[in-house]
Structures are given as structure tokens and as C-alpha cells.
């Protein structure tokens, strides 16, 4: 009995002393933190994707609160509406940003791009990229091991087993750019999502001369410059035998889509054209990966 009482008293005293020390230390060394950081953080998605260029959502919140201007601070995952709310909290004007989405600049599916080798090593794009061209002959195309899928913090990418290419799930993609960083071939680009998701882009990254590119893949951009000549908005440039559509300048007229001889230019989410004038003008909408 005596032992029980003694131990209760001893432990109780230790507990009280410990609590007192903790209380004093907590008061003495209390860090005054701006309560707005918590408010801002609560608005952010909390995925710590790094799309803003900061190490995480709290770091971004602290940066917003401590900043003199919100220029250059933008959470791609939340979009303009949330940035506006953040702007109200910190008392600064947030710049209007257009939402972006990841776009796969390769359409070399299993049918269109002949397989020349079979890879048995560690199934990651990073390893495969260090070994050569991968399973097809294209030195710039998708390797198909899905490093982008693993990298996506929003679950917005999936591998299509039939095509061997990754697909972006439009509703989930926030344009954070984690996949862009993960891709060793740099075939993923962040582009404006476009009105109602309509956008036009070159779905190819092959930098080789036309004849070689054609041999490697049936839907490769061959750098023929037809699209650049057709474009009335000076949005298309050709470099390294590869066409590039500047999404800031593109007016979504889709003239380039129709002239591309290899159907390398994709227009997605456009309403299906009524009565295509000729058979060779192929509506690309159905066959493009979303």
C-alpha cells in the first residue's frame, strides 16, 4: 500500500513539474507567426506538388504573406479564384492567370511507331533514357514506362496500355508541372487549357530530319513548314525539324491541323466539324488522347 501511494505521489510531482516547465518554455519561446499564413494555407490544396516553385504549400503561404507583391507567386493547382482570395487575405492584388494543363507531345502509339527492341531492365523512363532510344527508333519520343504517372501528385495521369502512352485526365490535372520535371525526354509541356478546354498543339517531339522521322514514326512532325506558312497569327515556329505552336499567340483557328501531312498537330475538345469538305481532312478530335 505504502509503495503504491509513494509512486503515485512521486509520479504526480514529476508530472506537475514537467508541465510547469513546458508551460514556461512555451510562453517564453513562443514564436509570433502571422495568423494569415494558416488562413492562406487552408485555401491551398495541400498536395505539396511544388508547382509554385516552393518546397510546399506552407512555404508558399508564408511567401505570399511576406511578399510585397503577388507577381510571380501563383499556385497553379488552385487557379485564379483562390489566388484572388489569397490576395484579399494579404491585401495585395493577385494577377489573373490562365489555367494550364499538361500536354503529351508524342503520339507514337504501338501501331504508329514500330518497336525495334524489347526492354527488360529496371522499368523506369529515367533508366531507359540513359540506355538509348528505348523500344522504338525515335530518339525523342515517349519511353512509356510511366515516370510521369508516378510523379503526378493529383492522380491525373494514367498509362494507356493499348497505346503505350500516358494520358492526362483533364478534370484532375492542375498544371503543377511535376510530370514535366519527371520526363527524361521532355515531351510534356504545360499549355493554356484554352476556352472549354480547346487547344491546338504539335503532338511530336522528334527533332530528326523528315525522312528519318517518317521512318521512325508514322505521325512524326517532319518539319515541312506547311503549318507555319498556313498560320496567319505567326504562332508557329520551326526549329530542329520540329514545329512549335506558341500557345500565347494561337487563336485556335485550326488551319494548321488540316494541312499537316502526318497529322502531327492535334486539336482537342473542339466540337466535331459539321460535314467535313473532303475525305483527307480528318477530324482529329476522336482519335487524340485526351
Amino acid at each position: 500500500m505504502n509503495v503504491v501511494v509513494t509512486s503515485i505521489i512521486v509520479l504526480g510531482v514529476i508530472g506537475i513539474v514537467g508541465a510547469a516547465v513546458l508551460y514556461i518554455v512555451a510562453k517564453r519561446f513562443h514564436v509570433q507567426e502571422d495568423p494569415r499564413i494558416d488562413q492562406v494555407e487552408a485555401l491551398l490544396p495541400g498536395a505539396n506538388c511544388g508547382g509554385c516553385g516552393r518546397s510546399g504549400c506552407r512555404d508558399f503561404a508564408a511567401a505570399c504573406v511576406g511578399a510585397d507583391t503577388l507577381d510571380g507567386l501563383s499556385c497553379p493547382a488552385s487557379g485564379s479564384a483562390v489566388m484572388k482570395q489569397i490576395g484579399e487575405i494579404v491585401g495585395l492584388a493577385a494577377a489573373e492567370t490562365k489555367p494550364k494543363i499538361a500536354v503529351i507531345k508524342c503520339n507514337g502509339t504501338c501501331d504508329l511507331r514500330p518497336q525495334i527492341a524489347r526492354f527488360e531492365g529496371a522499368p523506369t523512363c529515367a533508366v531507359l533514357a540513359s540506355l538509348g532510344t528505348g523500344e522504338s527508333a525515335c530518339p525523342n519520343g515517349c519511353l512509356g514506362c510511366g515516370d510521369c504517372v508516378t510523379a503526378c501528385p493529383y492522380g491525373a495521369m494514367k498509362m494507356n496500355r493499348e497505346t503505350g502512352l500516358p494520358e492526362v485526365i483533364e478534370d484532375k490535372c492542375v498544371g503543377c508541372g511535376a510530370c514535366v520535371k519527371a520526363c527524361p525526354r521532355s515531351i510534356i509541356e504545360l499549355r493554356f487549357k484554352g476556352p472549354r478546354g480547346m487547344r491546338v498543339y504539335v503532338a511530336c517531339s522528334n527533332k530528326e530530319k523528315g525522312a528519318l522521322a517518317m521512318k521512325e514514326c508514322k505521325v512524326a512532325c517532319i518539319g515541312c513548314t506547311k503549318c507555319a506558312k498556313e498560320c496567319t497569327h505567326e504562332a508557329i515556329t520551326i526549329a530542329n525539324n520540329l514545329s512549335y505552336i506558341d500557345y500565347e499567340k494561337c487563336k485556335l483557328c485550326r488551319k494548321c491541323v488540316d494541312v499537316c501531312p502526318t497529322h502531327a498537330i492535334h486539336a482537342v475538345n473542339f466540337p466535331v466539324k459539321k460535314a467535313a469538305p473532303a475525305a483527307e481532312v480528318k477530324p482529329k478530335t476522336e482519335e487524340t488522347p485526351a
Binding site: 523506369t124 533508366v127 530518339p139
Partner: protein, 448 residues
């Protein structure tokens, strides 16, 4: 007799050297050659010919693109057809010079080949050459390390200020399974090799030369011992058979007992290591005045092996004509060779073997790591491959660097030793590439 070897790690893969003992066959000069400008480590060479130019056998067609670089010479006379891209065995595009010969060119080349073994320098002239002159000849002959790494030979012979060479070690270990091109070269040309070694010693300004040969090549050891007996300072050292005995750092440790410091150059130990085929090329360049235009490789298809002396620029597919379609093509040996996706690629300075053996065609199925630690036991650099592989799979590059991935020699002993057949070296190599790139970027930022 005590056999030398390195202290930690190492494995004993099946040798499969079925081409050993097969005499070297000289392959004919092809009618068309494709000469990539990047056949060595360092800056690619710069083409000095243009379309339509006539070139003669032995002419330089591309000059060195920097200090760590080597020129390229044409093994045939002919006309430059085009300068265009060609494919590496892995399918990646690389700039190359295409040269085609006509009837007259081929006759001239046939005559030149007959005169091949005639020295251009007499003994007296050779004796008059100083180290600097020999290095210049080597540099202009485009000689690179023919063991496989293709590091320009003249760079190693010109050590950075503050370090001094004491010994030239000739790497004749040929520890890669299947390959026997160095073995046959030693059996057939021992005197020339010894002459090349003495030239290398003179160029490096040292009085000691060691030819290190694995003990599984008794004929080569005997031939070289005999040839070296009359030359003072050159010693033939039989080595224990253990992979990777021919790794530069392992060989230095085995021969002179000094360890190359982590992050340091081999010259810090006072040793200059050159491959035995490089020594032979040095002999040809200095004594016969012939730039590096061909090399010996081993062609191994599982049933038969051949040793071929192939002019650079020959399309590899012409060598394998008549053989059945291979399941897998490996350029180099089975341990460190790289898988090729095509044989429509030219022979270059680093091509030491073509391996078509079915036994090496497939990987065993990957299983989970059972933490047995055999990869650590096998690692000749004393690293922890399982840790490095896991860290690089998780993209923890800082940790990968802290665990000394930069010391990895990519010998593949870890993958060989793994009972779960995990792709250990694949991930370690990836981590090494990332870390080396980051280190270079840091060094560049520091300089700027």
C-alpha cells in the same frame, strides 16, 4: 608464384572465352565507311573535310575538338559522300563522315596495305625522339584507350602539374568474359607490344613498366615474358583471375598496392594505366607511322568465336552476315557491354566485342531484395549497392551523393551477385549520372 589482385570484392563469372586461340583475321577494307566524330570520351572531333573532298587512307578527316579529344582518320581512300547523322548501337543520332571508295582508290589501298609493316622510323630516329615528340605523335594518330572507355591516350600521358608518373601499367587483364581480342593480340604481336610499352614509358618519363595479365592466358604471359626479357624495366605480372581485375583502380591497387583516392585521378598514385591494345597502337603510330584506323574485336555468337581486325567505319552488320538472327546484341563484353538495338552502326574505337550469345539474351525475373548483402560483398569499390540503388529509385540524390556513388565504376558485380536478380547497377548508374551532372553544374557555377 604469388598472384596479385585487388583486396575487396570481385566476382568470378563464367569465362566463356571460346575465341581464345583463334588467330586474328584481317577483315577487308569496306567500300564505304561511316566515321562518327564522337568515338571517344571528351569533346567530339570536328570534321575538316567537306562533301566531295578526296581523302587517302590514313588522312585525318576530323581534328580534335579540344584537349580531351582525339582526331579521326579514314581507313580507306575515297571521296567524302556526305556529313550526316548515323546511329550509335543504341540508336541515338551522332554526326558522322561518310566516305566511299572507287576502283582506283581500292587499288591504291591494296598497295598501301602491303607496305603496312614497313617502319617509317629507324631505330636511331626512334632513339632520338623525346617524350614530348612521342606524345605529339600519339595525339595526332587519334589513339584512345582501347579497353573500352576510349579516354584519349595523350591526356593520360600529360599529367596535371603537381603530379608525377612513376610507373606505366599495361592493362592486359581482359577480365571481361567472352572477349579474347587482347589475348590474341599479345600472342601474335608480343615484340611490337613491348616496343609500344617502352615508347609509352619514354613518353611518360618513367623507367618502370608493368604488363598485368590475368593468369588464364598462359600463352600470352609466356610470349610477353620472352619478348620483354631483353628490355630493361619492363616486367610481366601474372594476375589472379577475378572480375573486375581490369578496372583501372583495381589494377593499380593490385600492381603497386596503392589506392586511388576518392574523387582523385589515378595519377595521384603515380601510375598511368594503358590498355595493351593501346600500347600496340602506339607502336604502330610511332614506328610504322600509321594512325589508329582499325582494332581487334571478338565476335561471339554462342557456338563459335572469332577475333577480327576490323577497320573503323565498317558497318557491324557486315561482320555478322550468315549468322542467325540474334535474340540480343551486346556491344562489348557481357559484364560492361551495352545492349544494342541495331547492328546497322559503324565500328568505332571502343568496339571491343560483338556478343550474340543466347545465354546472355534475357534477364532473370526480378524478385524482392532479401537483404543478404552479397552486392556489398561483391562491390570492388567498397560501396553499398543496395543502398545506392534504393536511394536513386527514390530520387534522393543528395543521399546518393553522400554515399559516394561517384566512386562507382559500373562494373556490374552487384547485379551479377544479386540472388534476387535485381537491376542494382541500372539504378546505381542512374544515380551516378544525376550526381555527376549536379557536381559538374556546381563546379561550373563556382567558376562563373
Amino acid at each position: 608464384m604469388k598472384l596479385h589482385t585487388f583486396k575487396i570484392g570481385g566476382i568470378h563469372p563464367a569465362e566463356n572465352k571460346i575465341a581464345a586461340g583463334k588467330p586474328i583475321e584481317n577483315m577487308p577494307l569496306p567500300a564505304e565507311v561511316v566515321l562518327p566524330v564522337a568515338q571517344h570520351i571528351g569533346a567530339p572531333a570536328k570534321p575538316i573535310v567537306k562533301k566531295g573532298d578526296k581523302v587517302k587512307r590514313g588522312d585525318m578527316v576530323a581534328e580534335a575538338g579540344g584537349f580531351v579529344s582525339a582526331p579521326v582518320h579514314s581507313p580507306i581512300s575515297g571521296t567524302v559522300v556526305k556529313i550526316d547523322v548515323c546511329r550509335t548501337p543504341q540508336g541515338l543520332p551522332v554526326e558522322a563522315i561518310y566516305i566511299k571508295s572507287d576502283e582506283a582508290d581500292r587499288e591504291a589501298d591494296a598497295k598501301a596495305l602491303e607496305q603496312r609493316e614497313t617502319p617509317v622510323r629507324s631505330e636511331a630516329e626512334l632513339a632520338a625522339l623525346d617524350g614530348k615528340a612521342i606524345i605529339d605523335i600519339i595525339k595526332n594518330a587519334g589513339i584512345v584507350g582501347l579497353g573500352g572507355a576510349t579516354f584519349p591516350c595523350h591526356v593520360k600521358l600529360s599529367p596535371p602539374p603537381g603530379s608525377k608518373a612513376e610507373v606505366v601499367i599495361i592493362n592486359a587483364a581482359e577480365c571481361e568474359p567472352c572477349l579474347s581480342c587482347d589475348d590474341m593480340l599479345m600472342r601474335e604481336n608480343p615484340r611490337e607490344i613491348v616496343k609500344g610499352v617502352s615508347l609509352l614509358m619514354k613518353a611518360a618519363g618513367v623507367s618502370r613498366g608493368v604488363i598485368a595479365i590475368e593468369n588464364n592466358k598462359p600463352e600470352a604471359i609466356e610470349a610477353l615474358t620472352q619478348a620483354a626479357s631483353t628490355v630493361p624495366g619492363i616486367e610481366v605480372m601474372p594476375m589472379k583471375v577475378k572480375y573486375p581485375q581490369g578496372g583501372e583502380k583495381q589494377l593499380i591497387e593490385a600492381v603497386i598496392g596503392k589506392e586511388v583516392p576518392s574523387g582523385g585521378l589515378p595519377i595521384a598514385t603515380g601510375a598511368i594505366v594503358q590498355n595493351v591494345a593501346t600500347a600496340y597502337a602506339v607502336y604502330r603510330a610511332v614506328v610504322l607511322g600509321e594512325p589508329l584506323m582499325d582494332r581487334v574485336l571478338t565476335l561471339h555468337d554462342g557456338n563459335t568465336g572469332r577475333n577480327l581486325r576490323v577497320p573503323f567505319g565498317t558497318i557491324l552488320a557486315t561482320l555478322t552476315e550468315g549468322l542467325e538472327e540474334p535474340e540480343k546484341i551486346i556491344i562489348g563484353g557481357p559484364m560492361m557491354g551495352r545492349t544494342a538495338s541495331t547492328l546497322q552502326t559503324p565500328m568505332i574505337k571502343g568496339t571491343s566485342g560483338i556478343l550474340l550469345d543466347k545465354r546472355y539474351a534475357h534477364r532473370r525475373p526480378v524478385e524482392n531484395c532479401i537483404r543478404c548483402g552479397r552486392c556489398s560483398d561483391a562491390c570492388p569499390m567498397g560501396l553499398e549497392p543496395f543502398l545506392l540503388a534504393t536511394l536513386s529509385r527514390l530520387k534522393e540524390w543528395d543521399e546518393v551523393e553522400a554515399n559516394k556513388v561517384a566512386n562507382c565504376i559500373e562494373c556490374g558485380s552487384c547485379s551479377y551477385a544479386c540472388p534476387a536478380s535485381r537491376p542494382v547497377v541500372d539504378f546505381v548508374r542512374l544515380g551516378k549520372q544525376k550526381v555527376m551532372a549536379a557536381m559538374r553544374a556546381r563546379a561550373a557555377a563556382k567558376k562563373a
